[in-house]
């Protein structure tokens, strides 16, 4: 039924076209007398048609028999009208196992990376500690060497000039020796 209806309406709208079809017929059958009359009538009709806007029927996509691939919404997307979206529950065993294995793999990776990171940091810390210990050791040995050299110098003999100097310096530093001048305060 639908196609026939559409045809009639189309014919109505496309009035002048139909007349165009008739035009040559009339010209063939009779002389050019009828031609101009028809033309005037058609013009009037046309004018009327132009003035009055025709009521257009709206078609649904199913009525038009459009091929499915040529539709506005793609074939795969089916949107039910007026329906709530709703939640999609995961209750079957397979889906749950899949999610669980995914999550576990992710967690496993995270823990692994954490551990490797911790190990690396630990290695760095250990290396720093060793370096610090080494430096400390070096400093200590240096100090020991200086001490040793000083001791050796002192043992060489008290008569040496150098030794006197050292003695003087040490006495000044440690307040061990007697002061040369004693400060006195006098009360008048």
């Amino acid at each position: 039924m639908a196609p026939s209806k559409t045809r009639t309406i189309k014919n109505k709208n496309a009035g002048p076209k139909k007349t165009d079809d008739e035009k040559p017929k009339s010209s063939k059958s009779s002389a050019g007398r009828k031609g101009p009359v028809n033309a005037t009538q058609l013009k009037e009709k046309n004018r009327a048609l132009l003035l009055k806007k025709p009521k257009r029927k709206t078609y649904t996509d199913t009525e038009l028999n459009i091929p499915k691939l040529n539709m506005i919404t793609p074939v795969g997307v089916v949107k039910p009208k007026g329906k709530k979206k709703g939640k999609v529950f995961v209750d079957d065993k397979e889906a749950m196992t899949t999610i669980m294995s995914l999550v576990q793999a992710e967690k496993e990776g995270q823990i692994e990376s954490k551990m490797t990171k911790a190990r690396q940091l630990e290695e760095i810390r250990q290396a720093r500690k060793e370096e610090a210990a080494k430096k400390e050791e070096e400093r200590k040995t240096k100090l020991e060497n200086v001490k040793e050299s000083l001791r050796k110098k002192r043992k060489r003999g008290p008569a040496d000039k150098d030794d006197d100097n050292v003695k003087g310096a040490s006495s000044a530093g440690t307040k061990a020796g007697k002061p040369s001048k004693r400060k006195s305060v006098s009360f008048a």
């Binding site: 939640k87 999609v88 529950f89 995961v90 209750d91 065993k93 889906a95 749950m96 196992t97 999610i99 669980m100 294995s101 995914l102 999550v103 576990q104 992710e106 967690k107 496993e108 823990i111 954490k114 551990m115 911790a118 630990e122």
Partner: protein
């Protein structure tokens, strides 16, 4: 009660995987090899609580109206309003057999832990090797009784160098909550 959505399931499993090892999948494995074998499932209640329950029991429970059904199976925890999952102490029997990392505490540390304090180095009897920082752990007494769970404050290597009063594990739930939070733990309002 309703099953969980994909997002919710993922959040829940992520939280559970914090504490448990690869044997976690045994939680949802069917009880036997028959084709229609019963299995455990997770159900979400109206108060956003997640229950670990036998499928057969969950199916029977559909005959009870939603507002009249207060609790079913074992409560694992609840979803917060921001969509995160918070585990309750009631989940301890579920996660304890599958725990990945463990901390055993000495008898002198049991009571402080059960009263809600964190685990200090002096109270630790022994702990799992190769445990990273901020990793979920199950806390046991020296007699292998699960007491609660928490999150490590230091990795195992760092914890060794810690002083006796240093915190090794932050408490998240302990069995003392059964008494302390009796009102809130099973509240249905």
């Amino acid at each position: 009660m309703r099953p969980l959505t994909e997002q919710e399931t993922q959040t829940l499993f992520k939280k559970l995987a914090d504490y448990t090892g690869p044997s976690l999948k045994n939680l949802i494995a069917p009880l036997d090899n028959t084709p229609n074998a019963d299995r455990y499932v997770f159900r979400l209640s109206g108060q956003n609580r997640v229950y670990y329950v036998l499928l057969s029991l969950a199916n029977i429970a559909t005959s009870i109206s939603r507002d009249k059904l207060l609790s079913l199976g074992v409560c694992i925890g609840k979803f917060t309003k921001t969509g995160k999952f918070r585990m309750h102490i009631t989940a301890l029997p579920v996660i304890a057999p599958h725990a990945r990392h463990k901390i055993w505490i000495r008898p002198n540390g049991v009571m402080p832990f059960l009263y809600g304090s964190n685990v200090v180095k002096a109270h630790v009897g022994r702990y799992s090797e190769d445990c990273p920082e901020h990793q979920g752990v199950v806390v046991y007494s020296m007699e292998d009784t699960p007491l609660g769970f928490g999150v490590t404050a230091r990795s195992t290597i760092e914890a060794r160098r810690l002083d006796p009063t240093g915190i090794v594990c932050f408490r998240q739930a302990d069995c003392g909550e059964y008494l302390r939070d009796e009102d809130a733990l099973f509240s249905t309002g």
